[in-house]
Amino acid sequence: MTTASNLLAFVALVVTLLLVWRQSWRGRARLFVVQSVVLAALAVVIGVLAHRPALLVVAAVFLFVKTWVIPRVLRRMAEGAPLRPVAPGRSAGISVLVAGALVVVAYVIMLPVTDLTAAGVATRRAIPLAFAMALIGLFVCVTGRDALGQITGFLVFENGIFALALLATYGLPGIVEAGAFLEVLVLVLLMEGVVVQIRREHDSLDVDRLRELRG
């Protein structure tokens, strides 16, 4: 069981690193979908092996929201905006290096927590991998040059936290899990409203143009 879940968490992290390396927005959106599929598989594996049928429902909802609804909304946001490289003129090497360093940071922060003798949580060894995903997502979010880049980063961050919750606790109580999905969904829809308006006002999604408010 731990082999399968560790492997899936590792694959998800590799996909996240690929996402940092990819410089086209469409490529990143596709990799986000791949990452979500891997995490849904992780939820299924943990659900089956820990005898938690509720996790299968979670996996199904997760798959529906993250690989169908959200990519559609993202595509609507991107419509009409000039699609340019994520970071023009910058090499992807440095970003990947930073992402690699973040994996180390994730291990440093999370190892003391996972070293505990917790017989019940067999999957805890993979917690740092999930935390690394979250940190990398945060990094993509704060270095994003336009609204789409920042939102993609946020979604990767959110996926990392979902994976961490799975690995550390085999899923949260149903009401919290349901609430979290609903919030992500509403958040992305609200974001679409705001982003569409930004594009109408500024004719671009660059966050550099958002500089009315200072001080």
């Binding site: 927590v113 019940g120 945060l138 920042q150 946020f154 009401i175």
Partner: protein
């Protein structure tokens, strides 16, 4: 009764989404008044005696929740009274429902026993208020709404991570998985389990919780969204956000403090809270000396006061926590009144630039005097309540053995005071521009704000009977 308190604003929000014209204003007023009445009844019951429980224990109102409910409904009523002046900038079918939805999410956040539900509710406050921030649909308000949504969502996701770790600590403690998962995230259950939980996991969780909920609370250095959102939102929304929404973020951190303290000892949370409190004070004090816009000035002053509250919680002890809770109430009332008056000043002068507002006392005698008095209250001068709560907080600092932190906090407070005073002087005196007029409505429209000022004097000079007991009971919930 608790269920009714939550159902009222929610039902109001749903119904108001279809109403327009006089019907909308009437429905809005009815919802606000009913929420205020039921909220005060619930709060009065809770701060006097045993906690009330509803919905199989998901909702639980103890003295601390009661205290927060009273503040929320009072500030919400204050803001609601001014709301109809601002609705013409957009659609009432957007404004009123979202306003009451925001009140609902805040009330849910403070009246639930489940920290998972609390997280959902706090995130809900962000989602409900984004379109209110962008209500005027200008470029600036759009930018503010975008930053607000993105930064607060990241923050709240970090708080989710913290909540997951708290749950993980519980799972580790049980040497396996908790069978009755629905009850696992109950605050009462966590508190009783806390001494046996892993201190390392809880310390890490607390760091995430402070950063996450601290973003919502506007603590530096996570405050960057706050001045934008609070200055661009319409005045009643700013009043609600600065007056109570920030405190809901503080409340969320406060709920976790005794749990972490029980497991890891009080030193850890104390150091974090004191450091963040001082930093917030420093950031705000520095800005208050060069404000360009009076709504931003008020927003930074909120960062300052949340910093003071955080210091009070960090000093701890019943006195520090009681001072912090009293400060939350005082600041909520004072800041709400100031934002509402700032909205009137903006309507009269047509600008939010500090440089554009001169001779306020001469041009708008009513609003100007109110602004001056409330600003003096906000600066912490007697006889207003903020003076009392600041004395309690810094007194706790000296008593609990942190004289240097308390002294540094006081010094920063003086710096902030000077900055505010300078800006206020520029606004209040001088030659007013020719075209300004007092907002219509006369004295009845000013009645709610006058009432808030009376309350501020009461909390400063003469506590009503039972007030001290209620405050102590609320503080004892988290500072035994």
């Amino acid at each position: 009764m608790i269920a009714l308190l939550l159902a009222l604003p929610l039902a109001g929000a749903v119904l108001l989404a279809r109403a327009s014209g006089r019907l909308a204003v009437g429905g809005h007023a009815l919802t606000a008044v009913a929420t205020l009445a039921v909220g005060l009844v619930v709060a009065a019951g809770a701060v006097r005696g045993a906690p009330a429980v509803a919905l199989d224990g998901v909702l639980r109102v103890d003295a601390l929740s009661g205290w927060m409910i009273a503040i929320i409904v009072a500030v919400a009523a204050l803001a609601a009274a001014e709301a109809p002046r601002y609705v013409h900038a957009g659609s009432p079918r957007v404004f009123y429902p979202l306003f009451h939805l925001m009140v609902f999410t805040m009330l849910l956040a403070v009246s639930t026993d489940d920290v998972g539900v609390m997280w959902v509710a706090v995130e809900g406050t962000t989602l409900a208020s984004v379109f209110l921030v962008n209500f005027e649909r200008t470029r600036a308000s759009l930018e503010a709404a975008y930053k607000y949504l993105l930064i607060c969502s990241v923050g709240i996701a970090i708080a989710f991570l913290g909540t997951v770790l708290v749950y993980y600590a519980e799972v580790v403690r049980q040497q396996g998985l908790v069978d009755h998962a629905p009850h696992a995230l109950r605050w009462t259950a966590l508190l009783s389990l806390a001494p046996a939980l892993s201190p390392r996991v809880l310390e890490l969780a607390f760091v995430f919780l402070v950063v996450g909920y601290g973003t919502k609370a506007g603590l530096a250095p996570m405050h960057t969204w706050l001045p934008d959102a609070h200055s661009e939102a319409p005045a009643p929304v700013s009043a609600l956000m600065s007056g109570v929404l920030l405190s809901v973020g503080v409340y969320a951190v406060l709920r976790f403090k005794p749990i972490v303290d029980a497991a890891a000892g009080p030193g850890f949370t104390r150091r974090i809270l004191m450091a963040l409190g001082l930093l917030s004070l420093a950031v705000a004090a520095a800005f208050l000396w060069r404000p360009g816009n009076y709504k931003r000035m008020l927003a930074y002053s909120s960062v300052e006061h949340i910093g003071i509250v955080c210091l009070g919680l960090g000093f701890g002890g019943p006195l520090g926590v009681a001072g912090a809770l009293l400060h939350v109430a005082n600041h909520g009332l004072a800041k709400a009144v100031l934002f509402l008056l700032a909205g009137r000043i903006r309507a009269a002068y047509g600008t939010v630039d500090l440089a554009g507002v001169r001779g306020l006392l001469g041009a708008l005698p009513f609003t100007g005097r109110g602004f001056l008095i409330t600003l003096l209250a906000l600066m912490g001068l007697p006889p207003f309540g903020l003076f009392t709560s600041e004395v309690m907080i810094f007194g706790a600092g000296f008593r609990e053995g942190h004289p240097w932190v308390a002294a540094a906090g006081l010094a920063l407070l003086v710096v902030a005071f000077g900055g505010l005073l300078r800006a206020a002087h520029d606004m209040l005196y001088g030659v007013p521009p020719a075209i300004t007029r007092e907002a219509p409505g006369g004295w009845p429209a000013a009645l709610p704000m006058a009432l808030a000022l009376v309350l501020l004097v009461l909390t400063g000079l003469a506590w009503p009977p039972g007030f001290a007991g209620a405050l102590e009971l609320a503080a004892r919930v988290v500072a035994p």
